[in-house]
């Protein structure tokens, strides 16, 4: 970590991958070694424009480069989408707690993801499969609005489902002609017998409405509230528990999260909005 927590270090965008009409993955190389734990987030600076929080989508094992998948949504992300290779950026962090991967050991891990929510999940997935023998199974249930909106297509339809110990199903809300898979929101492919509910953890990341229904479904299936892990990304600005933008009740999402169990935050109103 930098001496001054607000100061970014130099980094360069060395590659840009189009993932969907609104999402690109930026491959960046920080000037000096930058380590993070899966699920932690960083603040990415576009010099003179500002900074915004993102969770890297690459494996923490890769310390030379980092992938950050970004949906075009606001000012910083909009301008990032116009950048080309060679663009200088800044990066500071990592911040927050990340996924408690060690506590998943010996369990089945059910990952429910939607849309750009697959970005942090990719990092988690790569971390899990790297030591896949430590977990009973990794069960993925991913969705997007349309087939076009599914990101990481190459991996989703290529190597990931073939990995031993991985069970993967995909769905889209609306199909086009070329889609032969399931049609429906992601909860339609999560079944009560997908995993052993008494010995598993559920990780949910996606748009708020999807997280709400996936959580309700998990509770209905009998998962305990403290086995449900939610990525509660908010409007993090300082990243260090000071500026106040990301508070949920007593928690600063940037410092106490962004990963919370449902048990931790269930009593706060409007967590899904």
């Amino acid at each position: 970590m930098n001496e001054n927590p607000y100061k970014p270090i130099d980094a360069e965008i060395i590659d840009i991958i189009d993932e969907s009409p609104t999402i690109k993955t930026f491959v960046i190389v920080p000037q000096s070694e930058f380590r993070f734990a899966t699920g932690q987030f960083v603040e990415l600076t576009l010099p003179g424009i500002g900074e915004a929080p993102f969770t890297p989508s690459s494996s923490p094992k890769e310390t030379e480069r980092m992938d950050i998948s970004i949906m075009k949504a606001g000012q910083v992300t909009g301008l990032l989408h116009e950048c080309g290779k060679g663009q200088k950026v800044g990066i500071r962090g990592p911040y927050g707690n990340g996924y408690p991967v060690d506590s998943f050991v010996g369990k089945e891990v059910l990952i429910v993801g939607g849309g750009v929510g697959l970005a942090p999940i990719r990092s988690l997935f790569l971390t899990l499969v790297d030591r896949i023998k430590d977990f009973k199974r990794v069960v993925c249930r991913f969705g997007a609005r349309t087939p076009e909106d599914l990101i990481y297509k190459e991996s989703l339809f290529g190597e990931w489902p073939k990995i031993d110990g991985v069970d993967m199903k995909l769905t889209v809300d609306n199909s086009d002609d070329g889609w032969s898979g399931n049609v429906g929101v992601v909860t339609t492919i999560v079944k009560s017998d997908d995993v052993d509910i008494n010995n598993s953890a559920v990780v949910i990341c996606g748009p708020p409405i999807m997280m709400k229904f996936a959580t309700m479904q998990a509770l209905e299936y009998g998962f305990r509230p403290d086995d449900i892990y939610l990525s509660m990304e908010k409007n993090m600005s300082c990243g260090i528990g000071k500026c106040g933008h990301c508070m949920i009740g007593k928690y600063y999402v940037c410092k106490d999260g962004p990963v919370f169990t449902y048990e931790q935050i269930r009593k706060y109103p409007k967590i899904w909005d």
Binding site: P47, N235, C243, D273
Partner: protein, 350 residues
């Protein structure tokens, strides 16, 4: 290192004539910040003074709290060139600032901010400015119309947490020195001070409490924490609040900000932090338009919860120090004190 190292309180006194002379000397030798009338406005604020005659001694409290000297409204943290992030940190202020006339509620507010900025991550921008400041506070001898320090344990006289505290005793002030920094200042100007005199701080407190339309903080805390407040109260506040943010900007304990970039005409990028308010609609709105703190009732509730529950839990002191500024400036006539009293009474027949 904590910004205040408490010591066992040392008592002394100073005559009002000597105090004037002392402040005059300090204003020549150091940077003195004291209540004064601005050049264009009649409002009393903490301003740099270069002579004791510029100081306003007859004031209730300043319009703007002293926090801006430690946590600037708009502060450049560092600048960097457009081509890289190689940055230059803006030089921290390192010259000693002496404050005179800070009221106990504002001293308490600074104590809260100290705790907030000292807990991880440690914020050097704030703490470096605090480290080179020393505060001579003046206890209140009467309660003003809108304030309620006795209900939140921050006045009218402090029992600890000050550098130097003056308590009015007619022709003299009783002087209490409560920290290392205060002691240094006291020793440097020792000749101005006299032998201790008696003041009955407890009597002052009881007198003030009797005249104050106070509330029981514990009860307010319990009501808010157990979510037992009548929803109609939040709806009423939400209807009247214009989201102008004035109550928060003038709050001595509010510390929210946003981190943004500004570009100078010669193309350097400035990484700024600027005051922000949780009553602004965009405060929690994310890129893409999602806003987790909606409707407005939730926004309102969040402020009351933060100051009267969360900060008590985290720092062991109220996030409201009872200065009453927010009550006097609200354009929608939202009265924080009145609402706290309604929260206290909710659940009863009122």
């Amino acid at each position: 290192m904590p910004v205040i190292s408490k010591i066992q309180i040392k008592n002394a006194s100073i005559t009002k004539t000597n105090l004037f002379k002392l402040l005059d000397l300090i204003s020549q030798e150091k940077f003195l910040i004291a209540p004064a009338e601005g050049p264009d406005l009649e409002d009393i604020n903490f301003l740099p003074v270069t002579g004791a005659e510029q100081i306003c001694f007859d004031y209730e409290n300043t319009l703007v709290p002293p926090k801006e000297y430690f946590f600037g409204q708009s502060e450049c943290m560092f600048s960097f060139s457009p081509r890289s992030n190689e940055s230059i940190t803006v030089t921290d202020q390192s010259e000693e600032l002496v404050f005179f006339g800070v009221r106990p509620c504002d001293v308490k507010a600074i104590e809260l901010l100290d705790k907030f900025y000292e807990r991880s991550f440690v914020d050097d921008y704030y703490l470096s400015k605090r480290a080179c400041s020393v505060i001579i506070s003046v206890a209140c001898s009467q309660l003003n119309e809108e304030c309620f320090c006795t209900s939140v344990g921050s006045g009218p006289v402090l029992t600890e947490g000050f550098d130097i505290q003056l308590i009015d005793a007619g022709n003299d002030f009783a002087v209490q020195v409560g920290s290392e920094k205060g002691l240094q200042l006291y020793e440097q100007y020792q000749d101005f001070f006299g032998a201790p005199i008696d003041v009955d701080a407890e009597k002052e407190f009881e007198k003030a409490k009797a005249s104050e339309p106070g509330f029981d903080l514990q009860r307010v805390y319990d009501r808010l924490k157990s979510n037992k407040v009548d929803d109609r109260l939040w709806a009423d506040i939400a209807r009247r609040c214009q989201s102008c943010g004035l109550c928060l900007l003038l709050c001595p304990t509010c510390s929210c900000y946003t981190v943004i970039d500004r570009v100078t005409p010669n193309g350097r990028n400035l990484r700024m932090r600027e005051w922000d308010c949780c009553y602004f609609e965009g405060f929690t709105r994310m890129a893409g338009g999602q806003n987790p703190v909606k409707p407005k009732e939730e926004m309102i509730k969040r402020k009351y919860y933060h100051k009267l529950v969360q900060q008590i839990d985290e720092f062991g002191m109220s996030g409201c120090t009872g200065c009453g500024r927010c009550n006097t400036v609200c354009v929608g006539n939202v009265n924080w004190l009145e609402n706290i009293r309604k929260i206290e009474g909710s659940g009863r027949d009122v």
